[in-house]
């Protein structure tokens, strides 16, 4: 690594050193409480997957360049030089961590490994050593925000084709628009994923509830957050914020995508609209009597996988359980409970990296598969695209023999037509 690159990377590092980050980097006592907390370590038993070990890779660079003792006397405290080998270690640490923050709830000091890993990811971006796929997807999202007019008409045509499937799930009165787009003054802006499966069920539920809604032109997922690039994360987020302000909506509802929800909820800042997960909105419709569900459709035990970014990191825990109470009499919680739930193993961009990470994802998530098996459920429900993909992969790999379903699809299928 040449001196100029190192200097640039250390400036990026410096920019991350706010009060909280400094506390995280200076506080670890190596008590070991986090050892068993990481699903990767619990499944694979390798020391490099212990949360404190991951942190230590970043911490040693911090000691070398930002602490006087580490600079003058590096052997004390194991201060470490930032070089090409260190970048490889940072990559291994950052892209084997899903950012689930389970270790954080066990840590007596609340040290946030995911935050520390955000330094690792930012240094990788600065060194152009991040996974190219994630940057490609982030750049594609950003470009959409810049050139909406170029694809607007063709996108509207594509959405129009989905409307017949929405009506199959919920019949509308003549003249109604099954998927409203670009509606000024709508109450709710729904930000979906690009796939039909993300749009159709929820569109039917909105129509059943009589919601005054409109569909976003942009997909919810934030690949900038996956790759750990604050600039790209903000640009992707800004597209949706601008659209919501332009349409003057009161609420932005994020589809079943954990990262999208957490980023919008926690990083959008103070806005003239509230941010909700689609699960919270569906629970609200049931409470208000705006939709009725048929509870007789599901047979067998049903369990729910809490997406880390929505439950542990987003505090949406009661809403999915409230919905499931209206869908089945045979709901069974996983153990440990939601706050300590095992991550599915697909977060942090790992699922988006596809086949490249499949072997690791399967090996590192054995504890998740075991946790599901212990419930003896025949249906596993979740509310996150990444989790759904990962759980389907686990189902195949560990031959669990369960149905993996999206909560929103189950609600749409159980709608009782008045």
């Amino acid at each position: 690594m040449d001196p100029k690159t190192r200097e640039d990377l250390l400036k990026l590092f410096q920019g991350k050193l706010n009060e909280a980050m400094t506390f995280y980097l200076e506080t670890c006592t190596r008590c070991g409480v986090c050892i068993e907390a990481c699903h990767v370590y619990a499944s694979m038993g390798k020391v490099r997957y212990i949360a404190a070990y991951r942190q230590e890779i970043v911490r040693r660079i911090y000691k070398k360049y930002f602490k006087a003792r580490g600079n003058v006397w590096p052997s004390v405290g194991d201060a470490k030089e930032l070089n090409d080998m260190a970048l490889e270690e940072l990559y291994e640490a950052a892209y084997s961590c899903t950012g689930c923050r389970r270790c954080m709830v066990y840590c007596p000091f609340g040290i946030d490994t995911q935050m520390i890993m955000s330094i690792a990811k930012l240094l990788l971006v600065g060194a152009h050593s991040e996974p190219e796929i994630l940057t490609l997807l982030a750049d594609t999202s950003i470009e959409k925000g810049k050139s909406l007019d170029i694809f607007k008409e063709s996108f509207l045509t594509g959405i129009k084709k989905l409307e017949k499937d929405v009506v199959k799930k919920w019949k509308m009165e003549a003249g109604g628009t099954p998927i409203p787009m670009d509606v000024q003054g709508a109450d709710l802006l729904f930000v979906a994923l690009a796939g039909a499966h993300s749009i159709i069920p929820t569109a039917a539920i909105f129509n059943a509830a009589g919601e005054n809604w409109t569909l976003s032109f942009f997909e919810a997922v934030n690949f900038g957050a996956f790759v750990g690039d604050p600039g790209r994360t903000q640009l992707i987020l800004d597209r949706i914020v601008k659209e919501a302000k332009r349409l003057k909506v009161k609420e932005v509802c994020i589809c079943e995508c954990g990262t999208a929800f957490r980023v919008m909820k926690q990083l959008a800042g103070k806005q003239p609209f509230k941010v909700s997960s689609v699960t919270e909105v569906h629970a609200r419709y049931i409470k208000e009597g705006r939709i009725q569900l048929d509870r007789s459709l599901l047979n067998g035990v049903v369990t729910y996988h809490d997406p880390c970014q929505i439950a542990r990191n987003g505090d949406v825990i009661d809403a999915p359980r409230y919905i499931l109470k209206h869908l089945t009499n045979h709901f069974r919680e996983m153990s440990p409970d939601p706050k300590y739930n095992w991550c599915c193993g697909g977060g942090g961009g790992l699922v988006a990296l596809g086949e490249e990470t499949l072997d690791f994802r399967m090996k590192s998530s054995k504890v998740k598969a075991d946790q599901i098996k212990r419930t003896e459920a025949t249906t596993v429900v979740t509310a996150c695209e990444n989790c759904h993909t990962q759980l389907c992969n686990l189902n195949d790999h560990y031959q669990m023999g369960v149905d993996v379903k999206f909560l929103s699809s189950m609600v749409a299928d159980a709608l009782v037509q008045k």
């Binding site: 796929i133 997807l137 594609t140 170029i150 994923l193 690009a194 796939g195 997909e219």
Partner: protein
């Protein structure tokens, strides 16, 4: 189409959800020579916005887009 425009490679990406079509086409375009054209089939509605945006960021050109039922065909020329 193939007679008017020489197609170097056809990619059938029907049924793949976002972001797989973009990932596949990004890989596939690297397997043809600069100047050559690939024909890509997708049923993902997001591709209608993803493909033009991807092409702009990576410097490639979408020569034509055909929609036939649920299938969209993109004709993409490798520029760089």
């Amino acid at each position: 189409m193939s007679e008017e425009m020489k197609i170097a490679k056809v990619m059938d990406l029907k049924g793949l959800p976002c972001p797989m079509p973009i990932l596949k086409v990004n890989k596939g375009i690297k397997e043809v020579e600069i100047g050559q054209v690939i024909e890509v089939w997708s049923t993902d509605p997001g591709s209608l916005s993803d493909f033009p945006s991807w092409a702009r960021t990576r410097g490639h050109q979408i020569l034509k887009t055909d929609q036939n039922g649920d299938v969209t065909r993109f004709y993409v020329q490798r520029i760089v």
